[in-house]
Amino acid sequence: MEISISMNCPSCGGALSIEEGSRTTSCPYCSSLLAVEGDGGVSKIMFTNNLDRDKAIASAKKWMKGGFKARDLPRKAEITECYPIYVPFWKCSARAAGWVCGWREETRGDGKNSRTERIPMEKMVMRDFNWNQVACDAGDIGIEHLKNLAGKAVLHDEGSIPTFEVTTSPSDSKAMAVESIRRTAVNSAGVPHITFSKVHVFPGEMELIYYPVWMVRYKYSGRMYFATVDGITGGVLSGRAPGDAMWRSVAMTLGMAAGGFGTSLGLGILLNVQDDSSGLGILVILFCLSVAGGAFMFFRHGSEMTTGDVKGGYQFGFRNGGSGVGNEAMADMLKIKVRR
């Protein structure tokens, strides 16, 4: 059972020192250049934590105020714990290049003479994207992707802060990164009906980023809730908070009123007009029904309000569970334009 292999220069036998992730090194004694074969060179970056305990708590307290959480939450919440952790994220930058072809519909003319045409589209995509995803099972931390990826790197371990271990594979993540970037790139072309697309993604090296996150746990009527605070920007990344019975009832009442009246208005439009504008009536009805549906979901599940990628509860708008792809270096696009 071998657990350690000492590294010596193969030509002179001197002791070698290699930074994790590097691919070549030169022997300090005989200066022969050596290639390192190993784990495929993943570079690690650890970001400096910018917040202290008080700032993290202040940020969590500010988050408690908004978003239809329990009205007495800022007053009654009792912070029990607040500590920083380092969470690992895979990061991959890639350039997407290719063509997306298809068509869009356009209606021309006025009133009775209108006709719908298909206009062919052919768009070039040439853009850099970056992608990131948490490198372990996020559990109840509820952070899948980061929005901010800038920070000051530290060279050495900040000793006392617990660092979460990587438990997912870099190759799987790279494949996922390429796939999500390809999808985002195709969508970024803005072609509504795609008939053909060929987009190549050229990924760079995988990077491992250790990102500082503050865990703030608090108690509200005997129950334990939490919020996580971004250790660089100070914003709240995810969290759970109690909901409010009054807001839920208000939302239900107003939602159903909007839904009911709106639907009757839509039906009125449908009955009163004969020709083309029936589409408007249907649109009004659909919109009002979705308002009523949203209000009902808040009424039903609003006893717990959530932020970020945590399970359960109610969250306004769409859940964050995006693809983790962000635009990088819009400048590249501009450069191409200028060259033309």
Binding site: M1, E2, I3, S4, I5, S6, M7, N8, A15, S17, I18, E20, G40, T80, E81, I85, V87, C136, D137, G139, D140, I141, P162, F164, E165, V166, T167, T168, S169, P170, S171, D172, M215, G222, R223, M224, R240, M246, R248, S249, V250, M252, T253, M256, A257, G259, G260, F261, T263, S264, L265, L267, G268, L271, F296, F299, R300, E304, G312, G313
Partner: protein, 251 residues
Amino acid sequence: MAEIKCTKCGAPIAFDSGDKFAKCKYCDTQIFIDKSGAGFFYIMPYFIDQANAQGIFKRWTAGSLMARDLEATARIISFKQQYFPVYLFKRDVDGKEKVQVEPARSTTLPGLHSLKVPAGDIKIFDQNYDAGGIELLKPDIDMAAYLPQLPGTAKEQALVFFPLWTIQYEYKGRKYDAVIDGSSGEVFSTDYPTRKAAPYFIIAAIAFIAFLIEGLIGVLLWPVGFACGGALALVTIPVVFIAAYTIVRRF
């Protein structure tokens, strides 16, 4: 921190679970730690203490899908702190790293079948590590049983003990299980007393129909009906609000 002996001078070198390289303090030798042949023991410390775990359980029982009176009436039978073992295999399959997690113990606990190693600060578990008297569930499935079925070649394999709070509670004469991951605080449960959506749905449907009818009166019998429907709505809104508030509180 675990230790290995320097292959050159024999001095002890401390290293941690994520390290691939270690440097000897005495003779400056850089050592690569080859984990492909060895089986490591890792352990994940608790971030959630007992009071926290109880608070998380209480919060979970108050969820919108759980029975309304679950928070108030669930009687906890047992609240145990246990380390659960899983195998973590890192394999090299055609130059790509694959991670596979398999249970090291047969269990009926919820949430441990779709296994992933939860987020946590993994430490090397050896005789120096003090588990603080917490029960370590012994693996009863041998690592060798999995090895022949795994793809590719070994890169690393480890037994990971991860921290759990296992809770058994009783509600209306029936026993239920729930598990809290002691590192991130996630609650796992496959079977729990559920809340009926019917009261919520009925009041919402009644409110919707009432407003729809009032709206239709307004639209169809314009302009007399509009005033009429509007007046009715002014009465309906507070009634619906009070009904909704009662339902939120009671059901």
